[in-house]
């Protein structure tokens, strides 16, 4: 394999610059209301697409494990909230379902 350090450097630059640029483009300027409202909606607009449909393939070929694991997060997170318990609980339940079904 050739030296790929230049490739890695190039990838680092084209990944970093788009992550950095908005902080300077937007900065502390007062934004038009419409643009501000648009930016405020980005998290909700992104997160649905980040979860679905990717989640269905989170554990390859084991849809039942995914349903049980995410079901736990949904129920526990809805009633009790928090992050650690819903996440570790879902991993544990997915693990158990895989143990029992595979």
């Amino acid at each position: 394999m050739d030296n790929i350090i230049p490739l890695i450097s190039g990838m680092a630059v084209v990944t970093y610059v788009p992550r950095l640029l908005p902080f300077f483009l937007i900065g502390s300027n007062e934004l038009p209301k419409r643009v501000d409202a648009f930016l405020k909606c980005i998290p909700v607009a992104a997160i649905g697409a980040l979860i679905i449909p990717g989640v269905f393939n989170a554990v390859p070929d084991a849809p039942m494990a995914v349903i049980c694991g995410m079901g736990f997060t949904l129920v526990f997170g809805f009633w009790k909230g928090g992050i650690i318990v819903p996440v570790l609980g879902s991993v544990a339940i997915t693990y158990l379902v895989l143990l029992l079904t595979v």
């Binding site: 394999m1 190039g10 990838m11 648009f38 697409a49 979860i51 989640v55 989170a58 494990a65």
Partner: protein, 233 residues
């Protein structure tokens, strides 16, 4: 106060750490199979720090594609973070420019999501400990995968694959409980993304960009309408 920030950041960062380790191990294993050196493999994760694009780069490298094409693909795949940083820039207030250089480096999908749905003011401490947890998981996982191969039991690695999705859902739930609008936009975004992926016409990484642009535009219309009603009603 700062102590609380540390605790909160570790609590939110731990699931990202757990979620990043299995794909990072997989990346290390793949890198070794591609016959790149340990140093190069480490640098991939340490300086690029962008999961999906690193896998794509290795695959393209194996097909014999030149660096120009791979770098262009990386730009396209990772461009969604431009929109995520645009949102974050409205949240960090007066954080000095010096810190922004560090913060921008760690804007991954999961870090962005956790920061977005953290209602309180984002302190430097919180942001950096969160990003450091994510970064540590990704880099150590990569090196461990390269050196040790698949050292975790397969069934454990598989079940850890659910962690990042579970994290995203857990941070979203409080928002969904209080806002019908957020619920509608989330479902719309999920639906649109599913449709676009089935359609399969956009380059990798652009389905989500279209989702963000379309859904946030629709959402912004409702927000300004609500504000208008509040002002004039």
């Amino acid at each position: 106060m700062t102590n609380n920030d540390v605790k909160r950041a570790l609590k939110a960062g731990f699931p990202i750490f757990i979620g990043y380790v299995p794909p990072a191990i997989a990346f290390g294993i793949l890198a070794k199979a591609c016959e790149i050196t340990l140093l190069e493999c480490f640098l991939f994760s340490a300086v690029v720090f962008a999961g999906a694009s690193q896998f794509i780069a290795l695959n393209l490298l194996m097909t014999g594609m030149g660096p120009g094409g791979i770098i262009l693909t990386t730009l396209l795949v990772n461009f969604r973070h431009f929109l995520m940083s645009a949102y974050l820039s409205t949240r960090i207030g007066k954080m000095s420019k010096r810190y922004v250089f560090f913060l921008a480096f760690g804007v991954t999908d999961e870090v962005f999501s956790v920061l977005s749905f953290t209602k309180r003011r984002l302190s430097k401490t919180f942001v950096f400990i969160l990003q450091l947890s994510a970064y540590t998981g990704w880099v150590t996982g990569t090196v461990a995968g390269y050196v040790m191969g698949g050292f975790l039991p397969e069934i454990l690695t598989k079940s850890m694959g659910i962690a990042l999705y579970s994290l995203l859902l857990a941070i979203l739930l409080p928002e969904l409980k209080t806002s019908v609008k957020a619920l509608c936009l989330t479902i719309a975004s999920a639906g649109l993304n599913t449709f676009l992926i089935k359609l399969d016409v956009l380059p990798s990484g652009w389905n989500i960009i279209v989702c963000i642009l379309v859904i946030a535009s629709i959402g912004s219309f409702f927000i300004s309408k609500q504000q208008g009603e509040k002002v004039y009603g």
